[in-house]
């Protein structure tokens, strides 16, 4: 039984890792096509993508949209969770439902809705429009994570601080935020990941300044190339490094 289990484990891990291995391996291809036989290793495609103006511009745009939209989503989500966790408001179930609702709607529909609204108002597609869309998809996530992390324990500490004369701002900055640090960081980095990787909203709501996934998409149109492997592998590497740093700092500490 145990042996059978391990065989299954190996087989399914092979399936899960196959595209990643192919992606990374053929980013070191020397020839023009990322298909066997492998004739590398060569770093020329990495040099090419790092010198590609459009690609690096898109990378900066993506970073900008991800940071701004995640910060706004985190702030709005934090305030909402703080408000709803504190007292029982009339209609709090409806409010919670409304805040969570965008999570169950396809990104394509959110994008199309925003496109109809912006067209109607005469707003041009831009990185800002994309950022607005990314706040819409990340706000429910931030709210849900932070709302789940708020407990009586923290409510009591806040009440104590207030009784001792702390202002509302001091309570939030000196008591609530430090107590919720792991949840805040988790929500923030998840939001950054989702925004950074999001395609359809960015595709429909940007025109001249595009984000990285949109730029990669247009690279695909010109056919298979090890350059696409190289930029894909670089993005993967950066994500893994961030993940390891988070795992070793934030989450290790929060467990102990």
């Amino acid at each position: 039984m145990r042996a059978l289990g391990y065989i299954y484990l190996v087989a399914i891990f092979a399936f899960i890792f196959l595209p990643v291995i192919v992606l990374v391996l053929f980013s070191f291809q020397a020839g023009r096509l990322p298909v066997p036989p492998f004739d590398g290793p060569s770093l020329k495609w990495y040099a090419e993508v790092l010198n590609d103006r459009g690609l690096m511009e898109a990378l900066r745009n993506s970073l900008f949209v991800a940071l701004v939209s995640s910060s706004i989503a985190l702030m709005l989500g934090f305030l909402a969770a703080q408000g709803l966790a504190r007292v029982r408001l009339p209609g709090s179930v409806v409010m919670r439902g409304l805040l969570i609702a965008p999570m169950t709607v396809s990104y394509l529909i959110i994008a199309l809705g925003l496109l109809s609204l912006f067209n109607g108002l005469g707003f041009r597609p831009s990185l800002w429009a994309t950022g607005i869309g990314h706040v819409v998809i990340n706000l429910p996530l931030c709210f849900a994570i932070l709302f789940a992390a708020m407990g009586d324990h923290q409510k009591n500490a806040e009440r104590a601080a207030r009784d001792l004369g702390a202002s509302e701002l001091q309570v939030v900055a000196l008591v609530t935020a430090p107590m919720l640090k792991p949840a805040l960081l988790a929500a923030f980095f998840l939001s950054i990941t989702f925004s950074w990787d999001e395609f359809i909203i960015a595709f429909l709501l940007t025109r001249f300044d595009v984000t990285l996934p949109v730029e990669i998409w247009s690279m695909l149109r010109s056919g298979l190339s090890p350059a696409t492997n190289a930029i894909g592998s670089l993005v993967f590497l950066v994500s893994i490094v961030i993940l390891i740093i988070l795992e070793l700092t934030v989450f290790r500490k929060s467990k102990s």
């Binding site: 409010m95 990104y107 990787d197 993005v235």
Partner: protein
Amino acid sequence: MSSIERSERRTAFAFVAPALLWTLAFFLVPFGAMVLLSLAHLEGREIVQAYDLGNYIKIFTDPSLLKGIFVSLEITMTVTVISVLLAWPLAWIIATQVPARYQRLAIMLAVLPFWTSYVVRSYAWALVLGQNGVLMQWLIGIGLLDAPIQIMATRAATIIGFVHFFVMLLTLTIYANLIQLSPNYARAAADLGASGWQTLRLVILPLTLPGIMTGAFLTFVLCIGDYITPQILGGNNELSMPQLIMLQLGRRGDFPMASALSVVLMALVTLAYAATARWLKMDRV
């Protein structure tokens, strides 16, 4: 109600208001605008509001549009079923057969490809499945095939790409469910004379229904609304709903029809939610 309570409530509401306003302005209002637009028509290059159901009637009578609904539903159902069947054993093996201190590592490895970009992941599958790709060369190399067979630009390629992604997602939700189960369930079943297989099928499996259903619902929502995977891997031989929506937007500029198709897509997701709602525990994942 005391005045302190009232001021507490006012403060709390002031905290919630910005998020509510944002959701209202950039989610509910746009959605309303889209529904309104779905009742209009494209005449020449102009969009004319008609407040009728013409687009919806067309979706259900025009074979090329109606087919999109079935293509999307078939792909999504197939993907959901295959992904659950592959992910459950994986989650179970990690939760019960892998030593406790390696479990976190095993789960992190099982979802590692999540951290590649979504567009790039579909592209990587195109490399694997192509005519000259790794898979065909390997199958020919070991003598299983004489010549490459066509997988790219077929439904099979779309399904493989999707299953890869959703096996990772479902493994997470099912694993999260499995490790919350007390070992006493299995012990009690064994004490009462159940065999290992009976325990698994009659006790453990039903207890993981919330994890399965939560993952399956997420799979359904994400799969049926995805444009990238069918476009890159499936090609243009048969079009899923998101591909049809993008086609209306792009080449035809038919914004009202794209909106109507989106409303239908949304209705399908709502139906899936209604069907799985009693098992869903979204807050646990």
